[in-house]
Amino acid sequence: MPPLDLVPVWTIILGVSVFMYVLLDGFDLGIGILFPMARDDDARTLMMTSVAPVWDGNETWLVLGGLGLLAIFPLAFAIIMPAVYFPLLLMLLGLIFRGVAFEFRLKETAHRHWWDRAFFFGSTIATFAQGVVLGMFVQGFEVTGRSFSGTSFDWIRPFPLATGVGLLFGYTLLGATWVVMKTEGDLQAWARGRATIALYGVLAFIAMVSVWTPLLHEEIARRWFSLPNLLYFAIVPVITGVIAWGTWHGLRRDSDYVPFIGAMGLFAMCYLGLAISLFPYVVPYTHTLWQAAAAPSTQTFLLVGTLFLLPIIFMYIGWSYYVFRGKVTAHDGYH
């Protein structure tokens, strides 16, 4: 009997991990991007308090995704990481500043404006860098044998830089709709306005990337626009449109929850669209998931512990969001 093919299982586990990271840290980072636009110090404190209990756990999904890629798709890790050398460096340094600023802002009132800046720049740089990585992924990597053979500055090209800006809008939308959900009054009304602007930006970028990607790669164009695929996949832009309308409507109609759920839905549809474009590549467009996968014994060994720990982690996260449900007020947070 040949060993069971675990690649689909691992693809789902790691795909979910990365998506969890994008959604969860997405709204944390979005709040960081919105930070300097907030009206006053109290508004900033409240925005920060709304994500304070969860950001740290949210970030851990990134580590899980990274380590999972290393262990399960080592060849992909070995090719992609050097290719995104500087975007990754900027992301890590941005995340360090963001994390530390979170803590010190609320403790060091004397240097608060300084930590405010660190929080904004850390979040913005980390988001832009993640968007650049995404763009490079779609753009594809120059590979010779088993190594990346481009330069460390391949990210300075129109497409990755455009997706970097696009993700800034995306995370801002997540962050602003999160604030809509978690706050009341003036701050909520202000967040609604920001969310609406971000939504327009996001939709513009979705449209742009949807046109640009098939132009970059003929294979992707063929996948989407040949028959009968066109009939199946046409549902993706249709649903995206419906969700976009729902989000916009929710923002206008004073709904607390619909905008955030809509924003998450838009991310889910983009993620799905990306998966349709790139499958089965894990290193676009040279190595498939199966070609880059580790030995079956390696996959099995790690799966045992993962299947034991992951459900417990999910349960805890659900519980933790449940505990901190509802609106935040000035009385919450640090004392």
Partner: protein
């Protein structure tokens, strides 16, 4: 000047890991110390131990938070700078690193929150259990990382297929030849690092006549602890050294500063190794002593560096000096243990000003020893990344230029100096503030618990 991406990548890895290792060196021991304090509180029902536990948990929170932040950088280094290492070794090492991450994630998601913020929400026994689980978790993290690290020193349980390592036996991969010795030596080293940091902070409080009752209790038990664990550490270090002699004789030759293979090998107390001339300058040595402590016979033959061609030798001077720093600190620690026990026996432990100053001066000792010991073992592994099988220069990412790495290293240096500077400043401030004077155990409101490590520093105040 020609910028070498291999050397600069090594420097960058050394830089980020040297800063990172300081935090586990402290938190692994501190987690167990907190278990001890919580246990004493539960059994003795004395709030003195509760106040102490709250105090040290605050410092633990900051240190754990900085450990998480600096730890996120580590796995990405393997890919960005050492992609050929990742490609070659991940089938074997990937799951070990991933298990470390999962364990840390599991901890952070679960018991850490209860330890840091749950004191008023859960019964004392549950809080104690959370403390135990966090301590066990830090030890599990150390277990997986050191298993991976040891495999790079003494690889086993694998087969080589097309230049890549494939798992053959997971048990042999994990429990490779040097792992048990390295685990014992490293974890004991982490415990002692914490013990000397705690001892120094406590001595500072006694010197300034603050928190006298708490400080006396801690100083009394810490002195007993180091009196037991310093000799254990010296023994563990000796056994680890003998294990290294068996598997990596060249590393030991660099540690000892021995160039020629010889019987009656001398113990070199001091020298300036000259790699070009293949000899030591300004050497002070005791004849035959190295043969005696390495092979337990004065006539035993010890291999010298000249056994291997220069291209297969580790850099001698860093290994040689780092080893002397580590052993020197070990001797100082033994002195502190003997002195402390003697003072305690004479009833002067809590009042001797000179010992208090010595304890304060010894606060960084464990940290320096950990970094020195790490330098000995990792630089001594060179020029290999997987000992004897994969050369470091064949492991680097081929796309990197020296300028790329110089730029990234400079950015890491700037950011780490700011972030670690702020973190250390904050920890020192917490340490000076001392334990809370009284504890009020009230029922909290739901939703009050912030769930982040660093904010735990103030949650129980």
């Amino acid at each position: 000047m020609d910028l070498d991406p291999v050397f600069l990548s090594r420097l960058q890895f050394a830089f980020v890991i040297a800063f990172h290792i300081l935090l586990p060196a402290f938190t692994v021991g501190l987690a167990s110390f907190i278990v001890l304090l919580e246990g004493l509180h539960v059994t003795k029902r004395d709030t003195l131990y509760l106040r102490l536990s709250i105090f040290w948990t605050r410092i633990f929170a900051v240190s754990f938070g900085m450990g998480v932040v600096s730890g996120i950088v580590m796995p990405f280094q393997f890919g960005t700078n050492w992609s050929r290492y990742s490609d070659a070794t991940s089938n074997v090492l990937g799951p070990l690193f991933a298990y470390e991450g999962l364990v840390a994630f599991f901890l952070e998601a679960g018991f850490l929150g209860i330890l840091l913020f749950g004191r008023k929400r859960v019964p004392p026994w549950a809080h104690f259990l959370a403390a135990v689980m966090v301590a066990v978790g830090t030890l599990f993290s150390a277990f997986w990382i050191l298993a991976a690290n040891s495999w790079m020193q003494t690889p086993g349980g694998h087969e080589l297929v097309d230049g890549r390592f494939m798992p053959a036996s997971w048990l042999d991969v994990i429990f490779n030849a040097s792992f048990p010795y390295r685990l014992a030596h490293t974890v004991t080293g982490f415990y002692l690092t914490t013990a000397f940091a705690v001892l120094g902070a406590t001595a500072w409080h006694l010197k300034h006549r603050r928190n006298v009752a708490e400080s006396r209790a801690v100083m009394g038990m810490t002195v007993i602890f180091i009196a037991i664990f310093v000799p254990i550490q010296i023994t563990a270090g000796d056994l680890h050294g003998l294990n290294t002699l068996h598997h990596q004789p060249l590393k030991v030759a660099a540690m000892e500063g021995l160039w020629d293979t010889q019987a009656r090998a001398p113990a070199v107390l001091f020298a300036i190794p000259d790699e070009k001339a293949e000899r030591n300058r300004a050497e002070i040595a005791i004849p035959a002593l190295a043969s005696i402590y390495l092979a337990h016979s004065p006539d035993a033959v010890i291999k010298g560096l000249k056994e291997a061609p220069p291209s297969d030798r580790p850099p001698v001077a860093p290994v040689f000096f780092a080893f002397r720093i580590m052993v020197g600190i070990g001797v100082l620690m033994l002195g502190m243990a003997v002195w402390g026990v003697w003072l305690r026996w004479r009833g002067r432990l809590y009042t001797n000003r000179l010992y208090q100053n010595a304890c304060i001066a010894m606060i960084p000792a464990g940290f320096v020893a950990v970094v020195a010991g790490w330098t000995v073992t990792e630089v001594g592994r060179q020029p290999w990344v997987v000992y004897g099988l994969l050369r470091t220069r064949d492991a680097v990412s081929p796309s990197l230029t020296g300028a790329d790495v110089l730029l990234s290293l400079s950015l890491y240096a700037i950011v780490y100096l700011i972030v670690f500077g702020a973190g250390i400043f904050y920890m020192v401030r917490l340490a000076r503030a001392g334990p809370p004077e009284h504890v009020e155990l009230r029922e909290p409101k739901l939703g009050e618990r912030p769930a982040r490590p660093l904010s735990g520093a103030e949650a129980d105040a």
